[in-house]
Point group: C2
Chain length 638, copies 2
């Protein structure tokens, strides 16, 4: 999965920019209109209802981010308030409404889609990142020269964002946090808070039971000299990991909506919908985890005011939490680097073995699928082949569902990094060019994420060249030998050098962490060429990361080759400890498009060794002779 990105139905992002193909644009715009759009007059009514509520409260402006109280990458339906209000279905963006104007900011991935969806609504599209596009603060200044209260719903804004707004807004404005959610009343058929039951992640896969995790967490905190006595977790992935529980509140991500308050005596209090945890009440009690209703978090935190012990919180904690100590928040809450994130990234042996087994099953599904694709029996369109692949994966043991919406992109669609087919865009596969297929599954014992670019027939020289260069980039990272504790930023060139030398590049990250039956995008580390906290994280053994370079040629085709890698301990050298990567993903990389002359001897050696390992591991797991023959052919040395 290429980058921290959009959730369906964020279809067609970047189509205009990448394509420059007016015919296709019109087709896409029409399809979008039919499929998604809310009637314009309904949007106008919703905005008016919000303005009525603002007037009652004397607010000059209201900010609606795309967020839940846990700053999740993907939102439960209940929290899609910004989408409900504006009609814009993209998964990223912020809306701001004043009494006389309204605007929707979103980044370049969504400009075309937003243009279509916001047409004739009260919202002006603000192309975030475009030349001359004002930021929210500048826009507020231009719209409200007289100033006024700029309000937002506390739980959906991180404290750090609120501090930035406060600093940037001139004195005539007051940033007004309101802990009443207006959409509770305005949005009549608002979906309820998610209440799917949680299940226990078996210890044979999690590897470490909750009490031991608690001890490790507090050991990590105390070894840093921190004196917090409680830690509030609000990131849903961290909560699921800590408790070895999984949920179903968000598509593809097996997490559940909750807060978790850790206490220094290694007990904890879980705040969640009580119905979710009915089935695991004994499990929780045995592990000294008290359970309270989700809403109780504020009251319990407030009661802790009586003691002097400060509470450790992550940087992304929402303003609703901070509001319980209106004047002394800085004394009561101490920002800490999450100890959970730092432990979670290190996969224990049981998790590593789980990944290996899950990858075998995923590889079997991929091989069975690829054979059918070659034979023309996997389906005739992008969506059909995605469905075939999903059905084959579902036959595997421990299968729990997909880990993200399958990107099945034929021909020019492959150049759209976030493309996901819909009935309106679903392209028929032709016997030429590339099908780019980026997919993955959740298994109880591991999460997978794999991209293959498959030739459906004759290829152009450009297609072959680009494919070979991307493969060189992939091997460049996968085969790297590197000093322990190097940053992702310093590793990134390994996957790009071959592309850069030929004048190609890609705009997304090279690699992201991945959970063990958890989110397919997991922090804290990334491999990218740009500076951000995640690219300054250091690589150490036991971390898992994807390796997914690509090249996208607008209007023509896209190539991406992605495997999941495990950072392994390697030998001591006179120059310090060095690490290597073990490739976890097991699936042939198509050799038909490879221009062997462009590969070095070492690259050919890597590819042949990888294919030998894929064959060794997968062949015994196949039962169909035709599948075996296909795998043998696909893994032949070049």
């Amino acid at each position: 999965m290429p980058i921290y990105a959009d959730t369906p139905p964020a279809v067609g992002a970047n189509l205009g920019i990448l394509f420059g193909n007016r015919k296709l644009l019109r087709k896409f715009a029409a399809a979008t209109r039919q499929t998604f759009m809310t009637e314009h007059h309904i949007i106008s009514q919703r905005v008016q209802a919000l303005r009525d509520w603002m007037e009652e409260n004397d607010y000059a402006a209201y900010i609606v981010p795309t967020a839940d109280p846990h700053l999740s990458e993907y939102l439960p339906e209940h929290w899609k308030c910004r989408e409900w209000l504006t009609g814009f279905t993209g998964s990223a963006g912020t809306a701001v409404v004043t009494m006389h104007s309204a605007a929707q900011w979103t980044d370049s991935r969504y400009w075309l889609q937003a243009e279509t969806e916001l047409e004739n609504t009260p919202f002006t599209l603000m192309k975030d990142g475009a030349e001359g596009c004002p930021g929210i603060v500048d826009w507020l200044k231009s719209q409200l020269p007289e100033g006024g209260d700029v309000a937002f719903y506390g739980p959906t804004l991180p404290r750090t964002d609120a501090l930035i707004y406060s600093r940037l807004l001139p004195d005539i404005f007051r940033l007004a946090q309101d802990d009443e959610d207006p959409f509770d009343t305005l949005w009549e058929d608002r979906p309820p808070m998610p209440s799917a039951p949680v299940t226990v992640q078996p210890l044979e896969y999690a590897g470490t039971d909750v009490p031991e995790k608690m001890e490790r967490i507090w050991h990590a905190v105390q070894s840093e000299g921190s004196y917090v006595e409680h830690i509030l977790l609000s990131d849903l992935s961290e909560i699921a990991w800590t408790l070895n529980l999984r949920g179903a509140d968000i598509a593809y991500n097996p997490v559940f909506t909750a807060y978790l308050l850790l206490h220094t005596d290694c007990t904890a209090t879980l705040f969640t919908d009580l119905r979710k945890v009915e089935g695991v009440s004994d499990y929780l009690r045995e592990r000294s985890i008290a359970v309270r209703p989700y809403e109780d978090i504020l009251g319990v935190l407030k009661n802790l005011t009586d003691t002097d012990a400060p509470i450790g919180v992550g940087l992304s904690t929402n303003c609703g939490i901070y509001s319980i100590f209106p004047n002394i928040a800085e004394e009561k809450f101490i920002n800490i680097t999450s100890p959970v994130s730092r432990l979670q990234k290190l996969k224990v042996p049981e998790e590593q073995d789980g990944f290996r087994r899950a990858m075998e099953r995923d590889g079997v599904a991929m091989v069975r699928f690829l054979r059918r694709l070659d034979e023309g029996t996997a389906g005739g369109t992008e969506m059909e082949v995605a469905q075939t692949l999903e059905a084959l994966r579902a036959e595997g043991r421990n299968y729990c569902g997909l880990s993200f919406g399958t990107i099945s992109a034929y021909g020019p669609h492959g150049a759209i990094v976030h493309y996901e087919p819909t009935p309106a865009t679903d392209a028929r596969l032709e016997p030429r060019g590339f099908l780019l297929l980026d997919s993955g599954a959740q298994y109880l014992d591991g999460t997978t994420d794999i991209t293959r670019t498959i030739p459906l027939g004759p290829l152009t020289e450009e297609e072959k060249t680009v494919y070979t260069l991307v493969l060189k980039g992939h091997i460049g990272l996968a085969s790297l030998h590197f000093p322990n504790k190097i940053t992702g930023l310093a590793l990134d060139l390994a996957a790009r050098r071959a592309l850069w030398q030929a004048g190609y590049d890609f705009g997304h990250g090279t690699g992201h962490g991945i959970g063990s039956h958890l989110c397919v995008h997991e922090g804290p580390a990334q491999i990218r060429k740009d500076l951000r906290p995640s690219t300054l994280e250091r690589f150490v053994p036991d971390m898992v990361i994807t390796d997914e370079p690509g090249v996208y040629l607008a209007g023509k085709f896209g190539v991406r080759i992605e495997n999941v890698l495990l950072c392994t301990r390697a030998e001591e050298t006179p120059h310090g400890r060095f690490c290597r990567f073990e490739t976890l993903t097991l699936c042939p990389i198509d050799t038909r498009p490879v221009l062997t002359a462009l590969l070095t001897h070492e690259e050919v050696g890597w590819l042949n060794a990888y294919h030998a390992e894929v064959r060794r591991r997968l062949l015994p797991l196949l039962t169909d002779e035709a599948d075996k023959r296909w795998l043998n052919a696909a893994t032949e040395s070049i």
Copy 2:
């Protein structure tokens, strides 16, 4: 020149750590003792004199950094107070004296040397960076449980360092800035402040006259929305660049001691020893540069208090400057990123052409030298060959001196990154193994810095392998094609990948900026694998950087290959603007040690193309037929 490093006579740094050779250690220690050491009882007397002065002032501790008021990398003799006090001649470290104890911190490069030099003195060696070595603050806490005033001389401590001390010292201590320099009286024969005359850097080489530089500086400041009306420059390289003046106050670096106060009307006031600038008074007057005595800087800044205009200063500004506004320094001084540093790094066409011409002359000297070295007529020891090379360089037009002390390191000495031969260590060259030669010169039209590793006879397989891998690393960076505005941190792998793959690495940076007839180490950008402000600087066309990977095998040998590169504008691609490097240095890279089988086709191609260019440019400049024959042979294709 490998890294921001030591000034002579900081010989033998790291010898103990790198060598583990007791015999050599003893030899070196004895040599050091003879050459450098001040009698121990004299050091004791100096410490006692400082303590008497401390007692008069009621100071519990006194901090003596290795610094001048301009935070220069190399110090004028006048400012070597720390060395005078402790007897330790290394170029980095901080001494702290209390009434009953004294300690000298220094980093691993200097531990062996400091052990020897500090023996029997009142100073305890503190091995900065070693396991369990306390920091200055912790040491002060242990030595002075009762607390007290911790004093320092304001002009030799950056304001940012003082703020850190303040924050870390517990309440029982008071950080006491004293603007009287005790060494003015304690150090009886203290060398005077430097007063060498300054000269004008000819416009044909500088390219841009002072008024235009002033306009560009203020344009850069104002385009960032900054409202400062004065900018104080205290970095000597920035002052020399801005005024197109050069000095001789510091060895190898053609700078002069001064402050420069820039005014928003594009005039400026230069504070320096008036004797220095007698010869350029018309030049300065014509460019609206007023001149005042060095000491006047404080009074003039203080007078600016009457206006509201804040003064922009760099982060490294010393505490002496800040002290003139004891309570309102934060209002009067605004920290700004130096606009000069950002302009200085972009070499204008005249500077680029100057570099090219200087490199031709430097290349001619190198070729003439290398031929003599091959023939055995360049000298028989490390120092002799360095002198031969210096004499050949001195014959070149526009030659002004060396740009740093020549590193001429034979055999095991090559593994000591900071080795510089002295009479006591000077090794005889034998007809086997490597001579590592890192040298450079100042020419009016450019500064050079080149490392070649030269086989003096038969080599081991290990020597050949390491040499070839270092060459691969060098070519990896020199041949890179990369997106505009990439950071040095993201580029670094290009020079290391070949080494890492074989389990080798090097501890110094890969590349540093270089001045145009200015300091051989010039900011703001570096190429390194570790995170620091300099490695987050972005590479853009017109920047000049060295490319100097190496491998150092303790007790055996060292290899480093260094050229200077210019970042050039390259073609637009569908993936944005890409840059390339033009190699400025012109000198054959010895092909005798190369194991061709380890090179790729592209690497062989780069090397042959480089040698063709070296031959094309240098051959017409050689007059001696033997030199021409040597160059033709040395640049033959492999």
